[in-house]
């Protein structure tokens, strides 16, 4: 299949998936206990107040009508207005998304190379002591949720060693990079899990390649181990690394919701966490939709990149 056809096809599938996700997001916010009325008029409003608010919000209309109104406006770029504060949801996202993108990019920049290095070191000599050590470590890292990782890092680096600030207070009038130390803890917290996942995938790929006949032939021909790895094993094992990139983006987005809130980092994840707490449904729906779109886009791009890099996948 020609690449452009593949791109168009995958793009169409992504849009279908996004439409499906929008249904899931809308339905999920519909079934949240406590409706939007409470978020607007407060929990103590009278029945009359609640009824009035319900009318004003259009909640008396059929759910399908409301979904199509919301989705239709979203397609046109209008994600609605936040209940709390009354700001357009698009503005809130535009404020916070760059901070999260920065955090995610730094986490990816740390996680993928680290994952590759650890994966190659472990897979180069499968079953040896180093492989067992690194494989166990990466498995452990995958099993620990981000909030635990973040807590441990906080205790060690901020409270114990006093190397970095415990809270990510962005300088007023500036950005996160104006005080680079504030991103250390959230970036590390976000990077560990995808790094470990990448390491395991790459380790398996490297180990598989190491046992292939052509590597064995090369080894019998006297090629040094380091050269073997660099010239023959690594290029053939990077396919999984590319795929890991897409998965890592998803993991980082999920982790950011917890990690940003924990460190009070002003990103879109913390905003989503806060919006869920206040039942600010337009904000929840808008952010969730944007995060879903980013995840789908990253999967699409990595898929295309993987096919470009690996001729076998193009056939």
């Amino acid at each position: 299949m020609r690449l452009w056809r593949l791109v168009v096809r995958r793009l169409a599938l992504s849009l279908v998936a996004l439409a499906g996700l929008s249904v899931v997001i809308f339905a999920a916010t519909e079934v949240l206990p406590g409706d939007a009325v409470t978020a607007v008029v407060g929990p103590d409003a009278t029945v009359e107040q609640r009824d009035r608010a319900r009318l004003e919000l259009g909640l008396d209309r059929p759910v399908l009508d409301r979904y199509f109104d919301w989705a239709g406006a979203a397609v046109l770029g209008d994600l609605g207005t936040a209940y709390v504060g009354g700001r357009p949801v698009g503005d809130v996202i535009a404020d916070r998304l760059p901070n999260s993108v920065l955090l995610g990019a730094l986490a990816l920049a740390l996680a993928i190379p680290a994952g590759v290095v650890v994966g190659v070191l472990a897979g180069a000599r499968p079953g040896k002591r180093l492989d067992r050590f690194l494989s166990t470590g990466s498995l452990l890292a995958i099993g620990i949720p981000e909030f635990v990782t973040a807590g441990l890092l906080l205790a060690i680096l901020a409270i114990g060693l006093d190397l970095v600030p415990p809270v990510s207070l962005v300088p007023l009038g500036g950005g996160p990079l104006d005080a680079p130390t504030i991103v250390v803890l959230p970036v590390l917290s976000l990077a560990i899990l995808p790094a470990a996942a990448a390491a395991r995938l790459i380790r398996a790929s490297v180990a598989d390649t190491m046992s292939s006949p052509y590597v064995e032939t090369a080894r019998l021909n006297g090629i040094r181990h380091s050269q073997l790895l660099r010239r023959h094993v690594l290029p053939n094992s990077l396919g999984p690394a590319i795929q890991v990139l897409g998965l890592a983006v998803g993991a980082i987005i999920g982790g950011a919701i917890v990690v940003e809130a924990l460190f009070s980092y002003p990103g879109i994840g913390a905003e989503l966490s806060s919006a869920v707490g206040t039942r600010d449904l337009p904000l929840v729906q808008g952010i969730a939709l944007v995060l879903a779109a980013i995840t789908l886009l990253s999967l699409l791009l990595t898929d295309i990149a993987g096919r470009l890099l690996d001729p076998r996948l193009r056939t």
Binding site: V84, A158, D162, L169, P266, G277
Partner: protein, 552 residues
């Protein structure tokens, strides 16, 4: 009805921490202000009871000359914020930080001051006089108060501001102007206005000076960074969800009266997570962290780096349980009394609040002069509880207890109470909802037989009116027109003693036959560095304006 049911209820039933702690704290501050309102109305009694009439509060009108006491420096303080949804429009802001920001930015008509002879410390007002028949109030604006654009602040600005508050969609701010007919309000001269009341009320000054009535320039419709303001600090930078930077207002009216602001700059930081607020304080990233949990307060005890301050009665939050009288067997007063007798309040105070708080007596007005303090403390009597349950045929009953982490200590208190009820043979199932859901799921809350809640103590009259009047939904089945009449009569009574006596009667009925279990009262806990002082002197210290704060 002086206060409409809905708006009053909005004030009293609010969450301190959203949600994930922290959300809708405006409700909390309004609740506090409501509580404070009546305290102030009865301030002379408080002062008399304290034995120290001088108090510690600095009010305008005394002190040094303008700026003579300035200490300079920058105060950095952390509050529960609302993320990117934070707004300069205090009427639609949903967090503590939104309100604190407004307090730094805008002057108010006045603030409650229990140590002041008339119960209030006037702000831009110089005085308030009531008509003999309580049909109107005359407000005199302090001369020489100016906005940041240099224009004078006058009577027209006050009326416009009160009308803005009256149009507050949530009703939280409208509550404090609901008793006045603002359409009929008149400007008598540049500095004098008349506010007719909708029906005679005795506590007009208290309501107007509750601390939530900010003053905006006449014609203000938008709340922007460059809007004219008259508060102790001038806004210099506002980044929603991150923070706000202020500079000292050199033209603030308080300076001419010998007060603050004393510091050069003020930075308010938005930190929703309570652990992060504490970490920021301990690390020196901020000088003050508002709204810490009881556990955090306990952990900080003995730490020389931090001063922990807890509000004292009556500025406490009642952690309570409420039985739904519409659902059997709670329609039987014997069962209700048994549930109250089964509660070991001392154990709850010691384990849930680490001793930092007060024991409750199933009433909501601890520390207020009209609190029925003469009613003996209900004992912990599990044997009598078992007897009453057996007599009512309810021994061995099962009941779900609906609770959630809406305020620190709520779930812990519910868990302990469930154990205590288990000791008298009641099988309790804890139904813990996620943060932010307890009050959001309106129907579930009102249809549950036994629920958790919290509220700041409010005087009996106001609390009754908010929760129980007319069989309101949050009364959970309480509907007593005879007691309602008592409350109505009291609200329109100018004589303080007569008013308090009527309030006690109503309260006694709730104590004997009501459906609330109030085991403990919890303070608002703040941590600060030792060099930061003068927070309380700015009044309304749960949500400080920093107008009198100094930094060593």
């Amino acid at each position: 009805m002086f206060f409409t049911w809905w708006s009053a209820a909005t004030v009293v039933r609010m969450r301190l921490v959203p949600n994930n702690e922290g959300q809708m704290d405006r409700r909390a501050f309004l609740k506090n202000s409501l509580a404070a309102a009546t305290v102030t109305a009865l301030a002379p009694l408080i002062a008399a009871c304290s034995g120290d009439g001088s108090g510690s509060t600095t009010t305008v009108g005394t002190g040094a000359t303008t700026g003579a006491n300035a200490t300079g420096g920058t105060i950095r303080a952390a509050f529960v914020g609302a993320g990117a949804s934070e707004t300069l429009n205090v009427f639609s802001g949903g967090s503590a930080l939104d309100f604190v920001r407004a307090r730094a930015m805008h002057a108010t008509l006045g603030n409650l001051d229990p140590n002041s002879p008339d119960g209030v410390a006037y702000g831009v007002l110089e005085g308030i006089e009531a008509a003999d028949d309580l049909s109107a109030y005359t407000l005199r604006v302090r001369p020489g108060v100016v906005f940041s654009d240099g224009s004078p602040l006058g009577a027209a600005d006050v009326i416009h501001s009160l009308r803005l508050a009256a149009n507050d969609a949530t009703g939280s701010f409208a509550l404090f102007v609901a008793d006045f007919d603002l359409e009929a309000a008149t400007v008598d001269d540049d500095l004098t206005l008349t506010l007719p009341t909708r029906q005679p009320i005795a506590d007009g000054p208290t309501i107007l000076c509750v601390g939530t009535n900010f003053v905006f320039k006449d014609g203000t419709t938008d709340f922007t960074e460059d809007m004219p303001t008259s508060g102790p600090f001038l806004l210099r930078e506002f980044d929603p969800g991150v923070g706000t930077r202020f500079e000292r207002n050199p033209d603030f009216y308080g300076l001419k009266l010998g007060g603050g602001p004393f510091v050069d700059e003020l930075e308010l930081r938005s930190i929703p997570d309570e652990a992060a607020r504490l970490n920021a304080l301990l690390d020196g990233q901020v000088d003050l962290a508002n709204d810490l949990s009881p556990l955090q307060g306990q952990e900080l005890a003995g730490d020389d780096r931090i001063v922990v301050e807890a509000t004292q009665p009556p500025y406490l939050s009642a952690l309570y349980f409420q039985m739904n009288m519409a659902i059997p067997p709670f329609d039987d007063v014997r069962v209700r009394q048994a549930f109250r007798l089964a509660c070991d309040r001392q154990a709850m105070l010691d384990t849930v609040l680490f001793g930092r708080g007060e024991i409750g007596n199933d009433m909501f007005s601890l520390g207020f002069p009209d609190y029925a303090a003469d009613i003996p403390q209900r004992p912990f009597d599990p044997d009598e509880a078992r007897r009453l349950l057996a007599e009512a045929g309810a021994e061995g009953m099962s009941v779900p207890l609906l609770t959630g982490p809406e305020s620190p200590g709520m779930v812990e208190a519910a868990t302990l109470y469930a154990q205590q009820l288990g000791d008298v043979g009641v099988d309790v199932t804890i139904n813990e909802l996620p943060a932010g859901q307890l009050f959001a799921d309106f129907e579930t809350y009102l249809s549950s037989p036994l629920v958790s809640g919290f509220t700041t103590a409010a005087p009996a009259l106001l609390y009754y009116q908010v929760v129980f009047l007319g069989g309101g939904p949050f009364g959970l089945g309480w509907n007593r027109p005879d007691i309602d009449e008592l409350v109505f009569a009291a609200r329109g009574t100018a004589d303080a003693e007569e008013r308090a006596a009527l309030a006690v009667q109503a309260q006694r009925a709730l104590f004997d036959e009501g459906n609330a279990i109030v085991p403990v009262y919890k303070p608002v806990i703040t941590g600060r560095v030792p060099g930061l002082t003068g927070i309380a002197e700015g009044l309304f210290e749960q949500y400080p304006s920093f107008s009198e704060a100094r930094l060593a």
